[in-house]
């Protein structure tokens, strides 16, 4: 292996608002190599890719592309260096033709930007032929199937003379036939000297396609190995391989009656099917799974944000229907959404109004809203949850991530829920706030609240849950007891579906 080195990254670091996404990522890509990059959710794969493609800057370390040291990267600059990325969801313009999509941003036009249509079609046809796609360049991209769109993206990358091709879970929603076809195309590209970074959760397909593999964990490169010398078990061990370092304030709680139950719960629009699950009073049920397994979709469907097609929800044994979040709130269900910055809080609102937003009815009487009561309640919750702020009248945008999350949580605690659904409750917040939120979860459990906690962080799942529902492909594959759950077991089940899925051709689509 003495081929030219296309990309060399050493000890790259990156943090977002004080949270480390990458601690020390090192990676090397040679010409004519398919180099797999694997890791758990949140291991730093996406951040690393974003740095290479110039979407985000990096804080420290060194990156060389094509022998040049890169300090100031940008998407346009990365493109001139021959970097191209293809994501799981193709990013073509659906209203433009295939030829136009391929030409965008890379075609030299004539005087006044005049388009040479004949040449454009010809180029597109040639590129499509190179990737073995039988697609008419005149078709609108929106009319193509997903695998076809992927091939068009690869053709576009080739048209831009890409030397480094990043494939981010390209096979996640492909059938076996389409996968094989894709593999054939990328093997040909490898022969042609293109270097490829291949990201995939389907560990079993790696021996078939990858030359080397690099494992990222918690933002650090753990190891780079020859693919032929490493087993699947070893890879899982490398991906997980950490001790549960943080101490979780989990207490043994006597669980009571089943408060919340799902029976054959399905939603086509959300992509979830046949969910069976119950949560008892005082119990914390963790929901684990890979990105795209349908965890957030499940929570949204329960909360009335997606249409339910089948099955039922039971609260305290009674079957209920939820058509809108306001109805869910009335049944005592609260949902702390995944991305608090997006929709968990209203950033421009003061802390006090954010806390009371879901319980306005409690605060108002004949004379309008009781502002004194609102102030009292807001002060009570900010104190109870330890929200660090000078005044409850400050807007939430002035708070740190952890404190914003506490405000979002306060809002739901104020509704006195009996069922609390937490979606990534501690994602991207500092260690201190994280531990406070865990402490609070324990208190709530002691008070008899049934908690459903979605998390991508396995230590959190293992540390806080009484039982763990592992999701994959839109359904719960297995429910593990706290005693029998290990990181290996969860990851193995979560990944397992992909293998089964692939065998019978019904992958996560």
């Amino acid at each position: 292996m003495s081929k030219e080195i296309l990309l060399k990254a050493e000890n790259v670091t990156k943090s977002y608002a004080g949270v480390h996404a990458l601690r020390s990522a090192s990676f090397e890509l040679r010409a004519g190599e398919i180099h797999a990059l694997i890791g758990e959710n949140g291991a730093g794969k996406s951040t690393f890719i974003k740095i290479i493609t110039g979407a985000v800057s990096y804080d420290g370390g060194e990156i060389e592309i094509g022998g040049n040291s890169i300090t100031e990267n940008s998407p346009a600059f990365a493109k001139t260096l021959g970097v191209a990325a293809i994501y799981q969801q193709p990013a073509l313009f659906p209203e433009l033709t295939v030829a136009e999509n391929i030409a965008i941003g890379q075609e030299k036009t004539g005087l006044f930007g005049l388009v040479n249509w004949k040449k454009r079609r010809q180029t597109a046809a040639e590129l499509l032929a190179r990737v073995g796609a039988k697609i008419n360049p005149e078709t609108f991209a929106g009319e193509l199937s997903m695998p076809q769109q992927q091939l068009v993206e690869i053709a576009r990358a080739l048209g831009a003379n890409a030397k480094i091709l990043i494939l981010d879970e390209p096979t996640a929603s492909l059938s076996e036939e389409d996968t094989n076809n894709l593999f054939r195309v990328i093997r040909e590209l490898r022969t042609g000297g293109v270097g490829m970074i291949y990201i995939s959760h389907r560990l079993e397909e790696l021996p078939e396609i990858a030359d080397r593999v690099t494992v990222l964990r918690d933002g650090e490169t753990i190891e780079t190995r020859e693919m032929s010398e490493v087993s699947r078990q070893e890879l899982i061990r490398l991906m997980v391989g950490r001790e549960i370092s943080a101490i979780y304030p989990k207490q043994k709680v006597e669980t009571g009656e089943s408060i919340f139950e799902l029976r054959n719960f399905s939603s086509r629009s959300a992509g979830i099917k046949n969910i069976n699950l119950n949560v008892r009073a005082g119990e914390i049920v963790g929901v684990a799974g890979l990105v795209g397994a349908g965890r957030t979709e499940l929570a949204k469907t329960i909360f009335g944000l997606e249409t339910v097609d089948g099955g039922e929800i039971l609260v305290r044994g009674k079957s209920i229907r939820i058509g809108h979040p306001s109805e869910a709130v009335e049944f005592g269900i609260a949902y702390l959404p995944e991305d608090r910055r997006k929709h968990g809080v209203i950033l421009e609102f003061p802390i006090s109004s954010n806390i009371t937003l879901a319980s306005l009815k409690i605060l108002s009487g004949f004379g309008g809203m009781n502002f004194r009561r609102e102030k009292e309640v807001a002060a009570e919750y900010t104190e109870r949850l330890g929200v660090k702020t000078l005044s409850i009248h400050n807007s939430v945008s002035t708070l740190s991530g952890g404190n914003q999350q506490k405000v979002a949580l306060s809002r739901w605690l104020m509704t006195k829920p009996s069922v609390l659904i937490l979606d990534e409750p501690t994602q991207g917040i500092d260690v201190g706030a994280k531990s406070e939120i865990h402490q609070l979860m324990t208190e709530l459990a002691l008070q008899g609240v049934a908690i459903l906690m979605i998390s991508s962080e396995l230590p959190e799942i293992l540390g806080m849950s009484d039982r763990i529902a592992v999701m994959s492909g839109g359904t719960i594959v297995k429910i593990l007891d706290r005693a029998e759950a290990t990181q290996d077991a969860i990851l193995s089940i979560a990944l397992g579906h992909f293998e089964n899925g692939k065998a019978n051709g019904t992958a996560a689509s």
Partner: protein, 314 residues
């Protein structure tokens, strides 16, 4: 008083004070009782419409059909008055008629989720042409005397018009601050999805806001119609611009979620004063629109500048 939170309203107020000072120094006759009275009376209907527009803009929508709604309501007021309908009943009828037209917008925007700019553009054309087709552009004349008692130079009538407008203004300012729906209006405008996740029924809020907008247009049309001997078929042209401009000048964010009725009052006063002030300053009144346009742009630019300043401080 939180200066920071109301800095946009305060800047508009300062601008207004500067304008009044300039006029006061160079043309003191502007401050004659008669002139000020005319100013207030003329702008009362605009203020009513701007109140509704503030609500609509607060939820992140826009209603440009108010001018046409105003025309329909004005003509309807004239015809109903000629049937001998007593004033209080006439008032109720116009609230309902305006509310109904607003509800059509609310239905399309709130529940069918169509873009408000297009829906109300269609309604702007539709109501106006429906009116043209039915009345053939005719004015409503020979209005009964008791209809005009309110307007035509009667001091008592003028006081009543101003009083009704002020009561409505205070009522809505109170509602926005003190009732759940007021809070919900701001929440929907700030982040519709977050409001939905908090259990607020955004479509109902949007529907309600448009219906209220229509009802206020109905009242504005009635209070305007009683002041003249005849009602023109082309009443209310350009009112949507005046209302939107006043709201924006008053510091509301056109994207929703931020703004106050006090700001809108200042906006209406500022834009309403300019036209008359120009005459008193001896400037060609043709400049009025250009200057109004400049003020709106200045409001937007300062809004963006203030926003940048805020985020830079963080």
């Amino acid at each position: 008083m939180n200066f920071n939170r109301y800095k946009r309203e305060i800047s508009a107020l300062l601008a207004y004070i500067v304008l009044l000072l300039v006029v006061g120094v160079s043309a003191p006759s502007f401050f004659s009782g008669g002139n000020l009275r005319d100013l207030v009376i003329n702008n009362a209907p605009i203020l009513l419409i701007a109140i509704g527009m503030t609500l609509v803009i607060l939820v992140g929508e826009i209603d440009i059909s108010v001018g046409s709604q105003f025309a329909v309501c004005s003509i309807a007021a004239g015809f109903l008055a000629k049937t001998g309908m007593p004033m209080p009943l006439l008032f109720v009828c116009l609230v309902l008629l305006g509310g109904l037209m607003g509800a059509v917008n609310g239905l399309l925007v709130g529940w069918l989720r169509l873009p408000s700019i297009i829906v109300t553009l269609a309604m702007l054309v539709a109501w106006r042409d429906l009116l043209r087709w039915t009345t053939e552009g005719a004015w409503v004349q020979n209005l009964p005397d008791d209809f005009q008692w309110f307007g035509l130079g009667q001091t008592a009538g003028e006081i009543l018009i101003v009083a009704i407008t002020l009561v409505i203004f205070v009522a809505f300012a109170w509602i926005l601050k003190n009732l759940n729906v007021g809070r919900a209006v701001y929440a929907v405008g700030s982040d519709t999805e977050a409001a939905r996740l908090a259990g607020i029924k955004s479509p109902n809020i949007v529907f309600g806001v448009f219906a209220v907008m229509g009802a206020l247009v109905g009242i504005a049309a009635l209070l305007n119609a009683v002041r003249f001997t005849a009602i023109p078929g082309n009443a209310g042209i350009g009112f949507e611009l005046k209302a939107v401009a006043a709201v924006v000048v008053g510091g509301a964010a056109i994207t929703g979620g931020r703004g106050t009725l006090v700001g809108t009052l200042i906006g209406v006063a500022l834009l309403g004063t300019i036209g008359t002030a120009l005459t008193f300053l001896g400037i060609n009144p043709f400049w009025e629109k250009a200057i109004q346009g400049a003020i709106i742009l200045a409001a937007l630019v300062s809004d963006v500048a203030l926003g940048r300043l805020e985020s830079a401080r963080k």
